[in-house]
Symmetry: none
Subunit: 243 residues, 2 copies
């Protein structure tokens, strides 16, 4: 089950933290690491801190954007200490771990960690379907990046093997495989284009319209068939307008 | 409750790990650190890795023996990845955390972590009343010392306070009141009408299209503002078609 989980580190400044994350992952049985624009990588500090987990560094996927790191995923969770206006409702790490495992049966699930100082940008968070927080002291919330990865991987391991009952999946009719991130992004692009064509969205003054729509559809865990229906509606609208 | 818990690091080789442990403790609301014969301390690497938790280093109790570090405690737990013939029966971290909290009502409880390479000696383990293990992959059990401290402190925090959401940093949450059932039904009617107009939905052969869309939007718990956006898009489409 842990095979379908990817740890994504975005814009990491310190290579030592990448090594620490790899070691944290391997101790808990995770192996897939993706790095979005790491500041320094490969780097001997990463190797040193990885200790016996150097194989994860060697096999790490280096990406130039978060979209690339999420392209083939069916679900992504943003790890963030901050509560955002725009992002999805935050859930705590232990709850998230159970959900991740259930989703990982359907495809690749990503956990996304931001830069050591600035965390994840709002834009990055909006690429994810959930925000996850790690409970911490109100006086000092500044978890080390490697420690945050360690806690999440530990929770995943316990959720997978710790004898906890699995999350009950909703018994729903029509369920199809989950849409991939790429599918969902193409839908957003299509929707935006139709909104511009119809004059509903002014590209000069987009306000927070797309953020609000991302928040709405992000809550739904869109399936592939549903994306096809939504895109079909948009296609039909475009054809009708052109005629 | 966390006030009565002491983290004891015995014979730590790398000062960076002492700093990491201090940071891990402070993020979870623990503050009492004791060091038994640290190899290098005080040290600037400890300060660097402690980040904002330097106060714990300043207040750390330096001891020349484990006995000294445990002198005023009512209970001590040895953190160890190895199963010992001699030591007490090992319990896992999550179970231990609940026990520690219960004991901490009666006096000071110590969690004892050994050297990075050799762990705790059998003699040290026998000074403790329990052995605690952190679940890990059988292929690679080598947790970093700071990570081990982080996991235990995290479990203690959750045992003490459960998982509370983070303090909200920005004022206004994005969420609006939930839409009423009437609002939602009017949206479905509107959506259906646009789908018929554009030819996407054939009223003679509706199949399960509306059921599928109801299932999708039904999962989202639509908010009033979101309904307004969705209806706004539909209005704009209708206007553009009529023109």
């Amino acid at each position: 089950m842990l095979e379908n989980i990817r740890i994504v580190l975005s814009h990491t400044s310190h290579p030592g933290n990448i090594g620490a994350a790899a070691r944290a992952m391997k101790t808990m049985g995770l192996s897939h690491l993706a790095l979005v624009n790491p500041k320094k990588f490969p780097h001997n500090e990463a190797v040193a801190r990885a200790a016996g987990a150097e194989d994860l560094l060697v096999n790490a996927k280096i990406c130039s954007s978060l979209n690339e790191a999420l392209a083939d995923t069916v679900f992504a969770l943003a790890i963030s200490a901050r509560h955002r206006n725009l992002g999805p409702e935050p859930i705590q790490a232990r709850v998230a771990a159970a959900e991740v495992l259930a989703l990982a049966e359907k495809g690749i699930v990503a956990l996304v960690f931001g830069n050591e100082t600035s965390g994840l940008s709002n834009e990055e968070v909006q690429h994810c379907q959930r925000t996850v927080f790690i409970p911490a002291s109100a006086e000092y919330t500044s978890l080390n990046l490697g420690s945050a990865v360690q806690i999440l991987c530990y929770e995943l391991r316990l959720a997978a093997f710790g004898g906890h009952p699995p999350v009950q999946t909703k018994a729903v009719p029509f369920a199809s495989p989950l849409a991939t991130n790429d599918d969902v992004e193409r839908f957003y692009t299509h929707l935006e284009s139709v909104m511009v064509t119809t004059g509903f969205l002014d590209p000069q003054q987009p306000k927070r319209l797309m953020s609000k729509l991302r928040r709405l559809f992000g809550r739904s865990d869109l399936e592939r068939d549903e994306i096809n229906i939504l895109r079909g509606i948009l296609d039909a609208v475009e054809k009708k307008i052109r005629r």
